[in-house]
Structure formats: structure tokens, C-alpha cells
């Protein structure tokens, strides 16, 4: 046991001074012995799982826990619009796995969960650990399954790229004793208190990024770029991504809050993704995809 650590420290000294424990899974997350420097890279998938549950609960609380098909979900079943959105989300999640890049987190330990939140405000947001939320207004603003896929793919990209975890301020870890992060040392009350304090602050940081202030423009552009690639790989029409942004652009002039508060102007997003969408080409949307979208949204499925 000690030998492994000594080897690690010696190698780190030789290679550049960064000592890490590394798990060898594909999302292999490095957790430093000294401290967590960047939650996006350093938190393990298990850490992300526990973080995601609390972020998702906070996000639901801010919507008074009002979401579609709640009774069925609480009974362990996917039904109605939620089942349809989950099917679209599942196809996109598989695409995210197939197109993943180094450092991506497309395989949450608890799986992906897609919820339709009751809200008149157009918005979609996501929590670490595979929690994706789309408001009823955002679903209704989509004209086709492909446009809905664009919204969901953008959110999957946020999770896969670890954007919420990345919004945790690095200074949050400053007061945590080194031993609190060392798994070979028994966790005492003081260390648990320190970590919980960081957790509290991290919740504020992530909810700010997800729902209040939004991420940086570059982060949103990255989610657009990655999301567009994910939906195109799944077989959806890449032009639907641009079409949905045009709908948002038209509504952005009349509304406030929701996506307007947390995203760059839709017109700027269109400028950024148009070239990529053009390169990806156009894909004909079969009538069945239009029909099943209409049925799901109207509740006739």
C-alpha cells in the first residue's frame, strides 16, 4: 500500500511534480492527494453522482417539484411526454458515448434522467450526474423532434463536458485540510464539516451557472458545438439546431428570464454554429418523426 504511494510520489517528482491517484476507467478522474484543484477534472464519478442528486433536488425545488408524469416517475415508470423525451434523450446519450472525447463524462454512474419541468419560461438546464431538465415551454417552442433533440443535446453536452462542476470556484477548497481528502485517513467531524461547507458553496456556484447567472459565453458556445455534433451523429437533422435557435432569437426580443438570462444572444449562437451545421449537411426528417413528436406533445401518444 505504502509502496504504491511512494512510487507515485517519486514518479510525480520526476515527471513534473503533480502527484495524483488515477482510476483507470475511461472517464478516469484524477483526484489529487494534496487538494482538488478543478472539480471538472478531479472529482470522481462517484463524487459527481452525489453532487448531481443535490443539484437536481435544488433545481426541482426552484420549480416547486412540478414536472410531467410525476406519479409514474415516482412509481418507477417512464410514461407520457417524459417517456418520449427520455427516448430522444437516450438516443442522444448513446451518441454522446460514441462521440466522447478525452475528459468527457458521458456515462454517469446513475444513468441519464430526462424530466419535463412545468414552466411557462423557455429554458433547459442540466445537473451533474446525468440530470437533464427541459421546461414545458421549451418543448412547445420546438416544431419537430429534431428541434427538441437540439435542446436536449445541448444539455447533454453541458453534462458530458462537466460544465457545472467546472463552475465550482476553485477557492472553495482553500479551507479544507489535506487530510480531509486523503482516503487513507479516517474522516473526522471537523473534516466532514469542512467538506460539507465546500459542498454548500459548490451548490451555490453550480445553481448560479445553471439557472441564475449562466455560464460564460464560451462555455455555451462549446455546448452548442458539442451538442450539434451529438445530435448529428444520432441521425437528427443538423439544421434543426439552427432553426430552434432562430425561434429563440425571435422570442428573445419579447421575453426575459429563462434562457435569455443564462445564455448568449441566440443571434450570436447562430453565427457560431452555422458553419458547423452547414458542414454537417441536411437530413430529411421523415413524417413519422413529425407525427410522433406531435402526438407526444399533445398527449395523444
Amino acid at each position: 500500500m505504502r509502496r504504491g504511494r511512494i512510487v507515485a510520489v517519486a514518479l510525480a517528482a520526476a515527471l513534473g511534480g503533480l502527484s495524483c491517484k488515477v482510476n483507470l476507467t475511461p472517464e478516469g478522474i484524477m483526484q489529487t492527494v494534496d487538494a482538488i484543484k478543478d472539480a471538472r477534472k478531479d472529482l470522481t464519478p462517484e463524487n459527481e453522482y452525489w453532487t448531481g442528486r443535490s443539484v437536481a433536488t435544488n433545481l426541482l425545488a426552484r420549480h416547486d417539484y412540478q414536472y410531467r408524469d410525476a406519479d409514474a416517475l415516482r412509481a418507477g415508470r417512464l410514461e407520457g411526454l417524459t417517456a418520449y423525451v427520455s427516448a430522444v434523450g437516450g438516443v442522444l446519450a448513446a451518441s454522446a458515448l460514441e462521440t466522447r472525447r478525452d475528459g468527457d463524462r458521458p456515462a454517469p454512474i446513475g444513468g441519464w434522467h430526462f424530466l419535463v419541468v412545468e414552466s411557462d419560461t423557455i429554458n433547459a438546464f442540466a445537473a451533474p450526474g446525468g440530470w437533464v431538465f427541459v421546461t414545458t415551454a421549451a418543448v412547445e417552442a420546438a416544431k419537430t423532434e429534431d428541434e427538441l433533440a437540439a435542446v436536449i443535446a445541448h444539455e447533454i453536452a453541458h453534462v458530458a463536458r462537466g460544465h457545472a462542476l467546472g463552475s465550482i470556484k476553485k477557492g472553495r477548497w482553500a479551507g479544507v485540510a489535506k487530510t480531509a481528502l486523503d482516503t487513507s485517513v479516517e474522516l473526522d467531524e471537523q473534516a466532514l464539516g469542512d467538506l460539507t461547507k465546500v459542498f454548500e458553496g459548490a451548490m451555490d456556484d453550480m445553481i448560479d451557472g445553471i439557472l441564475v447567472k449562466g455560464y460564460s459565453k464560451d462555455t455555451e458556445y462549446e455546448a452548442d458545438k458539442v451538442g450539434l455534433a451529438i445530435m448529428a451523429h444520432a441521425g437528427y437533422d443538423p439544421q434543426a439546431f439552427v432553426r430552434y435557435l432562430k425561434t429563440l432569437d425571435a422570442k428573445q426580443h419579447t421575453g426575459s428570464g429563462g434562457f435569455s438570462a443564462t445564455h448568449p444572444k441566440a443571434s450570436e449562437r447562430i453565427q457560431k454554429v452555422e458553419g458547423q451545421a452547414k458542414t454537417l449537411g441536411t437530413r430529411k426528417i421523415p413524417e413519422i418523426r413529425v407525427a410522433r413528436f406531435r402526438a407526444a406533445v399533445s398527449g395523444d401518444d
Binding site: 476507467t25 478516469g28 442528486r53 417512464l78 458515448l97
Partner: protein, 163 residues
């Protein structure tokens, strides 16, 4: 002995922040054991995410690798078929059904999960936020999208393949 192997495998040095885990990743050897790390996964009849499955496995299940094809492992165990490497970790590790690191978890699992945000931290956080209702996420996380059922959805909708 098993614990020493795990710790040794976990304790590696990385040269610089640019180094990524994938650079270190090497496919498991045929005959070696992998452990399911996600809470549930399908073992597929063919190496693809959407399609027919041989059955399901849960976190902690151990499978023997019989063949490696890119990111897919043909495995044998409680269920036999193909599983993606994103669902498993190398080696045979005792994992509880829920991601561990809290009371009752094995040392190996604590090592794997790391510190930071763990069930202990969530419990303390929940204690100071009685206004938050965690029953929703707890119920919802029991629902899982069935990737085998998505095959019909993909075929019917003309999805898949390059534009």
C-alpha cells in the same frame, strides 16, 4: 493482496495537467476480471449501445473478459455478451450497489470513490436543508432508460448513420 493491487493501480503519477486518463488507459487482458461501476447496465448481444441485450448487470457485478474490440468487451459472468468500457472498471473490486464511500463501504470502495462529495457529505447537507425534498430524485433514479427498447424508436424514426 487484492487491496494492495487496487491501491497500486490507483496510485499513478501523471506528467502535467494536460495528461488525460485515456492516455493511460490500456485494454484489459483477455481472461481478466472487470467490475461494473455504473448502477445498472445492459450486456448487449452485439458491441453497440442501442440494440438487443443478453441481460442486465448491476454495480459490483464481476465479469470475465473474453474478447476486446475497441471500447467493447465481450464478457462472461452472470450475463454474457458485450459491455462498453464506460460501464466497468478493471479488476475485481467489492462495490456496494449504491456508489459508496460512506459508512459500511469497503476500503477499496472508499479509495475508488475518493473524498470530496460523498454520501456522508450529502447526509450532513440534507440535515441542514430540511426544506429540500430528496424523495423526488431518489424515486426518479430508480427509473432507467431501456437502451434495448430504443432500437425500435431509432429504426422507426429513421435515425442512426451519417447524414
Amino acid at each position: 493482496m487484492k487491496r494492495r493491487r487496487l491501491r497500486t493501480s490507483l496510485a499513478l503519477a501523471v506528467a502535467g495537467a494536460a495528461a488525460t486518463a485515456s492516455l493511460l488507459w490500456a485494454a484489459p487482458k483477455v481472461g481478466s476480471v472487470v467490475t461494473v461501476r455504473v448502477m445498472s447496465a445492459k450486456v448487449m448481444k452485439a458491441p453497440k449501445f442501442i440494440g438487443a441485450a443478453s441481460g442486465g448487470v448491476s454495480r459490483g457485478d464481476q465479469l470475465t473478459v473474453k474478447e476486446v474490440k475497441g471500447d467493447w468487451y465481450r464478457v462472461e459472468g452472470r450475463v454474457s455478451g458485450w459491455i462498453n468500457r464506460t460501464s466497468v472498471m478493471e479488476g475485481g473490486v467489492a462495490l456496494s450497489s449504491k456508489p459508496g464511500g460512506g459508512g459500511g463501504a469497503s476500503r477499496d470502495e472508499v479509495e475508488l470513490a475518493g473524498r470530496g462529495f460523498t454520501p456522508d457529505v450529502e447526509e450532513k447537507y440534507r440535515g441542514s436543508h430540511p426544506e429540500l425534498d430528496f424523495s423526488h430524485v431518489e424515486a426518479i433514479e430508480a427509473t432507467q432508460i431501456d437502451f434495448t427498447e430504443l432500437e425500435a424508436f431509432v429504426t422507426e424514426g429513421g435515425l442512426g448513420g451519417a447524414p
